[in-house]
Point group: C2
Chain length 334, copies 2
């Protein structure tokens, strides 16, 4: 038993090959009678069109690429889930391309991917979003691109994002509302523009509350557990240590928690800890993390949606974030 082809379908339905193709592609000018005959035949033969043949003959490949260089399993998993769901709805396929922003072969890899697979579009996640040479290569090939949370050339491509400044502002304001005055900030990796945006939001909230900015309370991190731990140790060793630490990722927040545990500082009694992302992690550490929920899955879905709905046309979509309060924050005890 070999695969059914469009020819088989046309024979069974008693129509021409082209008519079958028309029905499959939902083209205009097909009578209901024809459509029904074809659909019956398709169902009876359990026919599935060959993607390779469609790609070769047509101008579309029904495939989009997801390019990422992001070490966070949680982020990637959810991004894929969102993109994947939208793809399934449109009967598209998703090709995953991990890459390395520091690799000299980056441009060639992306070019080869597009050439070989004839992708209909590309979704990029940070930090690849902001690699100028990669972007240039994509423009050169005139392929539709949607970027998730881009930091540069904001209007150059379609994009989906959350308002990082506002999100960091919200969290900082929340900590201030609890009564905290000295709030430590662990920033993210410098490659990510979100890191800077979150710093901006933090300063913005402080200023509004009339609290002076103290640079010694800001510690550079890398989004990972280790740097969160290191940051906490440094911040808690200050002469006048913070009563709360806001880490720019849940993973760093977990590092802060671990350091606090090690140093015998109880959370949230002696120290409030806040994260960012609301990954699975946030509910798995103890105490569970107060954090900002970033709708990663929805961002992926929206990115794929922009690609499929609008193609080359540049569109932007901002998604809402949400402050999630859990057990790691409380009013300072003095």
């Amino acid at each position: 038993m070999t695969r059914a082809t469009i020819k088989d379908v046309s024979r069974v339905a008693g129509v021409s090959i082209k008519t079958v193709s028309r029905v499959l592609n939902k083209e205009r000018y097909v009578s209901d009678e024809m459509r029904q005959k074809v659909e019956e035949a398709v169902a009876r033969l359990n026919y599935h069109p060959s993607l390779a043949a469609r790609t070769l003959a047509g101008k579309r490949s029904f495939q989009i690429g997801l390019i990422h260089d992001n070490p966070s399993p949680y982020y990637i998993f959810n991004m894929q889930a969102g993109v994947g769901q939208r793809c399934r709805e449109a009967n598209f396929r998703m090709i995953i391309q991990p890459c390395d922003v520091n690799s000299p072969g980056l441009i060639d890899d992306i070019g080869a991917l597009i050439d070989q697979a004839q992708l209909d579009g590309i979704i990029m996640t940070p930090p690849v979003t902001d690699v100028g040479t990669a972007l240039a290569e994509l423009f050169r090939r005139k392929i539709p691109v949607v970027r998730v949370q881009p930091g540069t050339d904001l209007t150059a491509t379609s994009a989906v994002y959350i308002d990082n400044v506002q999100a960091a502002d919200d969290m900082t304001a929340y900590l201030i509302s609890l009564g905290h005055r000295r709030i430590g900030l662990v920033t993210g990796h410098a490659n990510y523009f979100a890191s800077g945006q979150r710093l901006t939001g933090y300063r913005q909230a402080l200023q509004r509350a009339g609290i002076g900015f103290d640079a010694s309370l800001v510690f550079p991190g890398q989004f990972d557990f280790q740097s969160g731990s290191a940051a906490a140790e440094a911040l808690l060793a200050l002469d006048d240590p913070p009563t709360a630490i806001f880490a720019s990722s849940d993973e760093m927040a977990a590092g802060v928690l671990a350091a606090a545990h090690r140093m015998g500082v109880s959370v949230p009694d002696q120290l409030s800890v806040a994260g960012f992302d609301d990954t699975d992690l946030a509910q798995v550490v103890w105490p569970s993390l107060t954090t900002v929920r970033q709708p990663i899955r929805d961002l992926g879905y929206a990115a794929a949606d922009l690609l499929l709905e609008f193609g080359e046309r540049i569109e932007r979509r901002q998604l809402p974030h949400e402050l999630i309060v859990r057990g790691s924050t409380a009013a300072p005890k003095n």
Copy 2:
């Protein structure tokens, strides 16, 4: 500027199309002189063959599918990383197909995937590995299959796996060696054969040490945080509670930790906790988890390797696990 085709290459190299094809596919009977001319032309034109055309004309598609129904981001991320790496080495593409083992459309989805994309092979992860109807569909299509950690029909397809029985035995024996006599076990989801295997290993180690099996110390979990928490609460409420709890996943172990924190039971002083998998999680909770490292990424790499190297031929590969001792276990204090 349009894409270069094999025709362009043949013109530039001054040879026939077929000769270019021969070089590209590393076929025999090509002189060094020809090969060199072709390679130069390929490089000069930055030519990448069209996957669609190759798939249509040839018998191979240079694509393999990864089918999974697994809610763990960490597991999926690492599995993909391993499979993806092997694919890149062979210049293959990986198509991800999340699915739902309980969906009635499962078989059709898999069939459609294979028909449409003409996949060269399939990799499955638990628990889809053991869905008989899905397996039957794959056999019907005579497509090479590699299963990761299959539980049933062990010799029906190629497979990669670790020795779950031995791994659980190792961990249990380690806890016994610390001096524990009452060791709780939180099992995994019943859908996963690994759950039963780990129970077997646990009993095996107890028996060897001459410790009677106590069914009240075994609590059924679902591999997730919640069930770990619930299990710990139940186990610690026993009249004669365990001094150590071995959870069949890190996530459940994290749940155990959280429950212990809540109940004021200090780890590892009053309770030792052990996990399984060595996910990122293990080092991010406090105290960090003693666990069994499962080389997920390597399993993915090996699975892809079997597919690409052996195709339909059935091969099996067992990978080593490793006991990782961290801060969550210690000798019981009496």
